[in-house]
């Protein structure tokens, strides 16, 4: 990721972006905790895991230059705590693409796996874009 070989118009339901891998190092977690004003508890905050997945979505979705994409909604399920230092793999696919008036809604599915291929998190993000 990003897969710049595809355009936004070519994104269709069922399309899967190439997976993105992140190492959730102690320095990453420390930077994240500072950004969100929180204290650590030995695990990676679940939303820090999601942040990686969402950032990879942002990089992956090919938007026309100058387009403002708005994160409209987010569903998440946390399945397993992720220890600091773990490596995760984020899988993102297009679930739906809906045109609604002057807006277009892109619904993306995300699944996050640990090194042992166990799913640690899954979810769905709705991104609103000008049509």
């Amino acid at each position: 990721m990003p897969d710049k070989t595809i355009t936004y118009e070519e994104l269709t339901p069922g399309y899967k972006f190439p997976p993105a891998t992140y190492e959730l190092s102690a320095s990453f977690v420390s930077k994240y905790l500072k950004a969100v004003d929180a204290a650590g508890d030995g695990f990676v905050p679940p939303l820090a895991v999601t942040a990686c997945a969402v950032a990879s979505m942002t990089k992956a979705v090919p938007l026309p230059p100058g387009t403002i994409a708005i994160h409209a909604s987010q569903d998440l399920e946390f399945l397993k705590p992720v220890p600091v230092g773990a490596t995760i793999e984020c899988h993102i696919g297009v679930a739906q693409k809906i045109a609604r008036g002057k807006m277009s809604m892109l619904i993306l599915e995300l699944d996050v796996f640990d090194k042992g291929k166990e799913k640690v998190q899954s979810g769905k993000a709705t991104i609103a874009l000008p049509a």
């Binding site: 950004a35 969100v36 004003d37 679940p46 939303l47 909604s73 987010q74 998440l76 399920e77």
Partner: protein, 140 residues
């Protein structure tokens, strides 16, 4: 952690002040440098009129509240559905609050259903949604 998990119980709220510095720190940590969050001159020319906090930064405060209340149960059995209603902007103070709406029993496991909301200092709804936590064992 909550000492009593019962219907109607309010969770301890989380209050956070949003600054451009925190938004920039979040962009660095997450790798999401969308200019609507970090480029003040770009953002000023958009219909939003200025930079906004990442939705996931606002949602992080919700997760922090849930982690404080439910600990490990949230990390390995939490679900949330959130709608981003309005953007949070630098200078805003956000208050995240929640209460346990009901406790459901399914297959001898209890689930706490919580409604949550995140409002700014003007009372405007920034994020609203629900969270469900799988508790360790059935309870009444």
């Amino acid at each position: 952690m909550l000492t009593e998990i019962q219907e109607g119980k309010a969770l301890n709220p989380v209050v956070r002040h949003i600054t451009q510095e925190k938004i920039n720190l979040y962009a660095e940590a997450s790798g999401d440098f969308n200019p609507i969050h970090v480029d003040e001159s770009f953002a000023a020319k958009t219909p939003l009129g200025g930079t906004i906090a990442h939705g996931m930064l606002n949602l992080a405060y919700v997760s922090e509240m849930m982690t404080s209340a439910f600990g490990q149960s949230w990390l390995s059995g939490g679900k949330l559905r959130a709608k981003f209603k309005e953007p949070a902007r630098p200078g805003d103070t956000l208050t995240v609050s929640s209460k346990i709406n009901c406790i459901e029993q399914r297959d001898n496991v209890s689930y706490a259903n919580c409604g949550f909301e995140c409002r700014n200092q003007k009372g405007e709804m920034i994020v609203a949604g629900e969270a469900i936590v799988k508790l360790s064992s059935a309870r009444k």
